[in-house]
Subunit: 363 residues, 2 copies
């Protein structure tokens, strides 16, 4: 037993089932974007000089950070790039939370935060969300006296519920520890729901973004965050020396710059989400927040969540089932293409006809 004591009982992070991809498969289980990344990326690589790979990448992703600075109207010194948001989350725990300190995390939320806390021997104070999964900021604040940090995923996963800018300001006005605001899904949310510009006012706020969801670039691993210069300078000091490879730096920039393609894709995903939401309600499901590229839903039509999951997996439609408190009777469905959602709905209709009661018939 050479490993550290607190790791001896650790269970690693469990990600969504990643089937070997093929064209017959409908993958709605990991909140990936159903549309390909910007075609500009492919164009860019036509003339790529592969010989440059013998050199180290730019250590601080300077050009990429300039690009991000321009798009978001934030100074380049307030931006840090990571090997996925994963790396940034790890660095935040490594850099800002002492061992045995405590961090507030609402439940349920993105489970990686609890795993990373355990890896770093940091305690978590889990604050249950309300019955409708909304976050009660008073509850958060009343538990925050001994906490070194607060984590808010906004919109939250897997609920899709958005916490308002006003409520986040309410937290920031009272809590002086680190506030980690993970906006991985914010591009799919209502307009003006981001707290990004608040980093100019609150030196303890860090806002995380990623290219994985709204830019269809899970595969290149690029997360970025915005915060005060003091926070960014610590991240710079404790990161791996060349944390972002050359190709990711270049591709990320191409993806970010193609604003027309980005906006067009967002609209498609949002429109499919609206349609899926209506259909799910008609099929007798309760749905929760509609601010991300997924919908959490609960069958109220006599069917069991796990049975629906299994039924859909048969014809290779993969959605997400969480065997954990308050979620085991629900399902999370990532927004696919119109065609993928058609096939999902055909199968769900079939199942409801066969085994369940549709919402209409149960009224």
């Amino acid at each position: 037993m050479l490993e550290r004591k607190h790791l001896q009982t650790l269970e690693g992070y469990v990600s969504g089932f990643q089937p070997t991809w093929n064209n017959d498969l409908i993958k709605l289980n990991s909140n990936e974007n159903p549309y390909p990344p910007s075609p500009k990326i492919k164009d860019y690589f036509k003339d790529f000089n592969f010989d440059q790979l013998r050199f180290y990448p730019n250590a601080k992703s300077d050009s990429l950070r300039e690009c991000i600075a321009n798009i978001y109207d934030i100074d380049v010194e307030n931006i840090f790039c990571g090997n996925g948001s994963d790396e940034i989350i790890s660095l935040l725990f490594r850099g800002f939370f002492e061992e045995n300190s405590s961090v507030i995390i609402p439940y349920p939320t993105y489970t990686l935060y609890e795993t990373v806390a355990k890896i770093h021997d940091v305690n978590t104070i889990c604050i249950d969300t309300e019955e409708d999964f909304s976050i009660d900021v008073d509850k958060i604040l009343s538990s925050s006296k001994k906490a070194a940090g607060i984590v808010i995923v906004n919109p939250n996963a897997p609920t899709g519920i958005l916490l308002s800018v006003e409520k986040i300001k309410f937290i920031l006005n009272q809590f002086k520890g680190l506030v980690i605001l993970d906006e991985a899904y914010i591009d799919f949310a209502d307009e003006n729901s981001s707290c990004l510009q608040l980093i100019k006012t609150y030196p303890n706020l860090i806002v995380l973004r990623t290219l994985s969801k709204s830019y269809s670039l899970c595969g290149i691993r690029l997360g970025y965050c915005f915060a005060s210069k003091d926070i960014i300078s610590i991240l710079d000091k404790i990161k791996d020396s060349y944390n972002i490879n050359t190709i990711t730096q270049l591709l990320a920039e191409e993806g970010l710059k193609d604003r027309a393609y980005f906006n067009h894709n967002l609209e498609k995903v949002k429109s499919t989400r609206t349609r899926l939401g209506h259909e799910l309600v008609n099929l007798g499901f309760d749905i929760y927040g509609q601010n991300a590229n997924f919908l959490l839903c609960k069958p109220n039509n006599g069917l069991e969540a796990k049975a629906i999951y299994d039924y859909l997996a048969e014809p290779n439609i993969f959605i997400r089932y969480f065997d954990q408190p308050r979620l085991a009777d629900k399902l999370r469905i990532s927004i696919g293409t119109e065609k993928e959602i058609d096939i999902l709905l055909i199968n769900l209709h079939k199942l409801v006809r066969e085994k369940g009661m549709s919402f209409e018939s149960s009224v």
Copy 2:
């Protein structure tokens, strides 16, 4: 001051000066390979399906690990891939060394180890190498009673000196903590000098390798390591969930598989190293180990190391100068192409003629 206490005085890792690359520049300061990566990499990308980047990468780099397993005759369960060796080094400190524990590190060696130790609040016991920079294993072992680990970079950087397999076995037979053996430069060393196969005998040995040096692939960030299944399983649990992006996994495999190109490049670098070694001695330099893709040398010809560094920087020839104990009178020169070394030597000859005494003239 939101950061952790032990980080408040931390200075980050300082890497070699990275000038903006252009064709007129001779970059011999970061031990990059002077030859481009395998042309198979470029060929592979001709048909690359960029759309797949919307999916997460394989979480454990399975296919790449299979490829490494075949090349090195090691089971796939004994292999871990990291976002550069940097990530693996960080994970080893995060996973195996308690805060305030101690790790033995010879001096001088790759300075990143000391930086990473500080980041993780781990103490370092620095063991001075001998006058000729060789490592005395008895000295290491006599200080190891309270140490949780021993770091050996082999061949060592920046000295290029190789520690024999027998001496490493001697350490392993007596020390039961974690032994981190960083073989980043081993492909350039004498045959049969790797301790890779010893992981089958010693459950506390971890051997690190990288594609940055001998495979000319700094830019893609791929490090890998070999160790007992127990060690690998801890690394798997504490790593970021998708630590290696899709493109790096694929390119690394192409680079590794092209054995003919790899071997041919190695021979070229080694032959240039032999030539540069002779020339440096003729110019009145002492040289140290000749087992890596660089030579550490000391001017004994009346010139000062720093002055030589500055003189060469003028015509855009960058070598490495370390302003630290026992190294400030020496220079580290990465092995370039024959042509680059020609130009370096022309300039060195000129300098010696102008300001110094050549070795011949000083005898």
